[in-house]
Amino acid sequence: MRLTDMLNFAWQVMRGYPGRTFLILLAMGIGVASVVAVTALGEGARLYVSNQFGSLGTNLVIVLPGRSETAGAMPGVLIGKTPRDLTLEDALALKSSRAVRYIAPLIVGAGDVRVGARRRETPVLGTTAEIATIRRMDVAQGRFLPEGDPRQSLPVCVIGTTVANELFGTRPVLGEWLRIGDRRFRIIGVMAKQGESLGFNTDEIVVVPLAAAQALFNTESLLRVLVEAKSREQIPNVKADVEEIIRLRHEGERDITVITQDAVIATFDRILRALTLAVAGIAAVSLAVAGILIMNVMLIAVTQRRREIGLLKALGATGRQIRLVFFTEAVLLAASGAAVGIAVGQLGRNIATHLYPMIPFQAPWWALVAAPVVALLTAVLFTVAPARRAALLDPVQALSRR
């Protein structure tokens, strides 16, 4: 029997029993669609998180004061107190590492920002000019913090767009003065809209030189130091150098924590990937259910089409041909079901993308391959028994009954 004839024959069966065909397509379609949709959601979440980290800047190493005893916990944040401060001098010393390109020490505090009668409680970030490069911050107007000695306290600041709008409305901002606590700062720039990344919204902050922030918040202690490695390969060297430099400066104590961005991304990646796989596995159960449905339908078909099978045998069909007829039918049903499922899954993905445009929903290629393959395999596997039964049917008995 020719392949085209085999397909045609199966096609005639599918057309001949539309209700049955529709039910199988529905079951297979739901199975495949749920796998595609669920993996698209999982993959979307994974890409979203890794994009969020990516927007922090590349080749980033974060230095925190205090030693973390358990991996992953943020030291000092939980305890509230750290054994030894991380100072500006510590941060500047890191520049002696040859693997380091930029460093940006960071102090963050809440500031009472006032312009005339308007006031606003705003996070104030004390840092140096290099943060603009490390964190990919752009200025929309004016300029960013001046380069120069970070120990020098200049009365200038750069503000986020939201802050600018709320304090000045549509008035020009550059060159105006604003007051943070009891100090005055001249606005030299407004940052470009960047939005939120990892819960830190650059549109809503005021950036001042580090020394000014130290004076403002009356502290020498840095919240953290951002370090950019010269290249991705240099990240381990940066980590080693940073630990060594600080250890020497802190009388041999290893009282800092160095987080590489890669490690954080990798952890999230692993967690979300595992989650996606787990949920996809659950969705795949519906594929198995669809497979069992196909087996049922095929077993019924063998009984219903006894006479037809007997006839085919009388007309010279071999057992192999009878089995192939059933397998072709199952494969055709499963393939059509999978096609329907992928179409519906993609439709669901489009709807989700429409509702949550910032999350890049996209079913991963392995799911788009695995779901139809699993559908086909279950269909074939569950057709083995019915096809065998049909092939072994005795033609005399099959034909004798009316």
Binding site: M1, R2, T4, D5, F9, Q12, V13, R15, G16, Y17, R307, E308, G310, L311, L312, K313, A314, L315, G316, A317, T318, G319, R320, Q321, P395, V396, L399, R402
Partner: protein
């Protein structure tokens, strides 16, 4: 061409063994027109199924075209059946979802014959059996006589030397039955071997050689 020797066919029904065929010896030469008659349960259909390779004898030998075909595998028998034997049944056994021409084409499809070649053979068969204007109708839209003509055309599509008909008129009125018999007999006039099972003496007496069976044994074998 067909040579049966000492054919037995036993069925086990519950505790009992039923002897459907008891020591049947039969030789049929090419081009013969033979009817098998007898009361129901006399084993005439079983004999036809054995001749048609649908059923295997419990004992005895069967030679077709000089080749012993007892002990062949099912698939080998299927291939022999495809090439050499055409079946016509009492209940037509057409596939309900296929059109008349698709039903006629079925044996050629199973044999894997080239579609272009199938088409020419099909056209010829449709004309030959007067089914041109019924080609695209499904069996449910055909009369009994038309159904049986489709079945005969199907049986002839591979051009087999032997046609086996099991009560071909059993499900038709007398007039249509005569019609169908005329069509079947055309096969015989074309040089084919026709074996007919019937319990209708009128139909059976049309054959040139008549076998009578009772209780699984051939009791008379008369030639005209």
């Amino acid at each position: 061409m067909i040579c049966l020797a000492g054919i037995e066919r036993n069925f086990v029904v519950g505790e009992e063994t039923v002897h459907a065929l008891r020591g049947v010896n039969l030789a049929i030469s090419a081009g013969e027109y033979l009817s098998i008659m007898g009361p129901s349960g006399s084993g005439k259909s079983t004999l036809l199924n054995v001749i048609g390779l649908l059923d295997r004898p419990s004992a005895g030998t069967y030679e077709l075209d000089g080749r012993d075909i007892t002990g062949r595998t099912d698939d080998e028998l299927a291939r022999v059946r495809r090439e050499k034997i055409g079946f016509v049944f009492q209940f037509f056994h057409l596939v309900p979802r296929l059109t008349a021409e698709q039903n006629i084409e079925l044996p050629m499809v199973l044999a894997g014959i080239d579609p272009a070649k199938r088409r020419t053979r099909l056209e010829r068969l449709l004309v030959e059996y007067g089914l041109e204007d019924r080609a695209r109708h499904r069996p449910s839209e055909l009369s009994g006589g038309q159904c049986q003509r489709v079945a005969i055309a199907r049986a002839m599509s591979m051009g087999p030397p032997v046609i086996l008909a099991d009560e071909p008129t059993g499900n038709l009125d007398r007039h249509t039955g005569q019609d169908v018999m005329a069509v079947l007999e055309r096969v015989h006039h074309g040089g084919g071997t026709l074996v007919l099972v019937t319990h209708d003496p009128e139909i059976g007496s049309r054959a040139h050689r008549r076998l009578r069976m009772i209780d699984g044994a051939v009791i008379s074998d008369e030639r005209l």
